[in-house]
Amino acid sequence: MDLTTIFQAVITGVLMAGIYALVAIGLTLIFGVVRIVNFAQGEFVMLGMYVTWWLWKAGGIDPYLSLLITMPVLFVFGVLVQRFLFRPILSAPDMAQIFLTVGLSVVLMNAALFFFTADFRSVKTTYSEWALRVAGITLSVPRIFAFAGALVLAGLLTLFLSKTDIGKALRAVAQDREVSMLLGIDPERMYLLAVGLGAALAGAAGGLIVPFFYVFPTVGVVFVLIAFVVVILGTLGSIQGALLASLIVGVAESLGILFAGADLGLVVVFAILVATLILKPSGLMGQA
């Protein structure tokens, strides 16, 4: 196997890492602020993909342009989920919380199956097949766009969290709920915001990959599993950690596909999970 092929796999992994980072940041944001492990995060990605596909199919709207619709739609969806599903069980045991989100995931997945059938859908744009060739390596243009889009969104989120008052309030709630209340922050509103943002990021990830990724009802499962590995490797609740970990996971998956076979990429990702749990369960950004 020549070096170019390996390099090609690494680049493909890096480009996909941007998407994994968006999904994982959404997951870790919800966990950090609301303390809920959202097993339905992958279905938020799936919803983003279907909204984008439907806008393209029915209205001929370009997938990138439709981010302006997909993200607000998913934001509102996330707010509703927090208000009506997460809020009543905030003080319930972990088991109840996890099962609620698993139930939500099953409902959404099968609602998609019911309304859109099991057919694989795709969006064909003029640029879907565009590619750049640099030194023997093929760079798919929509994958580059997806990566760039993910970086821009992750950057905007970081700015929002560090520079704005609302963003700082959000981080305060994540750090200490009681103290933030003493500072006059209403945690309930911050929860709504966190789940809304988390869903919007997942939806954006879905929208960004539609030009080169099939849309089908169970597409979210892979994303949520990878996002879990990313947030554990990158330390639960840490955004920087999620960015770094998504690079590692993306490249490892891509190399796994190259060396072990297309169907074993995910097995390599799980091997990373096992290694993390054995060697450093607190993750790359963890203290201990």
């Binding site: 492990v37 097993f39 599903l85 009543p88 069980i89 319930a92 045991p93 972990d94 088991m95 109840a96 996890i98 099962f99 609620l100 698993v102 139930g103 939500l104 995931s105 099953v106 409902v107 959404l108 997945m109 099968n110 609602a111 998609a112 199956l113 019911f114 059938t117 099991a118 009802p217 499962v221 599993l225 879990f228 590995v229 554990i232 639960l236 076979g261 169907d263 074993l264 995910l266 097995v267 799980f270 999970l273 096992v274 749990l277 054995i278 369960p281």
Partner: protein
Amino acid sequence: MKAAGSPEYYLPAGILLFLIVLPFLLPNPFYVHIVVMMAVFVVLGGAWNLIGGYGGQLSLGHAAFFGTGAYVSTLLVNAYGISPWITMWLGGLAALLLSLPVGIICFRLQGPYFAIATIGLAETLRLLVLHFRDITSGAQGLTVPFRGDAPWLLQFGSKIPYYYIALIMAVGVVLITRRMERARLGHYLVAIGQNQDAAEALGINSARAKARALALSAFVTGVAGVFYAQYTYVIHPDSVFGLGLSIQIALVAIVGGVGTTMGPVLGAVIMEFFIQSTQIIFAGQYPGLELMVYGGLLVAVILWRPRGVIPWFARLYQGLVARLPAAGGARA
């Protein structure tokens, strides 16, 4: 002292007697199939409950143990012609061995790690079985060659013998649960569930207690997997290792009531009745609708009946016991 004729004795005995004659009361094999599946899910929900309910460790990957039992047994039966009565224990043992590293790695940690790791385990096994098709025949699945009425090969011409085996397993799981509840391990798990730090301070090794409960749970689940493979004659990676099965197993315990002996029994009967009815009503015309209702049910139970149906049912049962007269003129 309660007299032998009191309803507290004869009511459970009556229920057991009813279960023994049940297959002869059912009009056709389809109904026998439904009660066999109910019994299988009593076993699976009960096994899950040992670690999920009593151990408080949420497994979302019990299909890993079920599929391991099913595949190990079927491979051995097909390759060496070993009787499934023997491979049943080997399948359970394989599942138990598989559970050991999971327990060792995850139970040092507190948090959602175990739930995620178990999903990862089942998915990994599913992908590996799909990948190594030379051994496992991949997506095609494995078939148990049909030999007709061959009790030594755990094959029967009628569904009724399967029913009795499943019934024995289901009663066995209830007895195992009851025994564990009253044994030291059960008390440890309850103490850990109430306050892990306090339990550790008293010298309880919480990781070891949970790992033991998981090993027991995995063993029973593996045995059930072997039975399922023999009963249905065919296993597929997507069905025996699938996330859907893992969720269904946990759902049985949750709907019934986690951490109770009879919760998974009730949960299995209710869920299986529900699944079969929706299958008859919708007849597969609307793909996704059944599971949509299913997931909705899960959300509804968590929001409004977090303790499952068991408290409600226990009241009903106690009421019945109080109202029934003592048998044979004996006074309770």
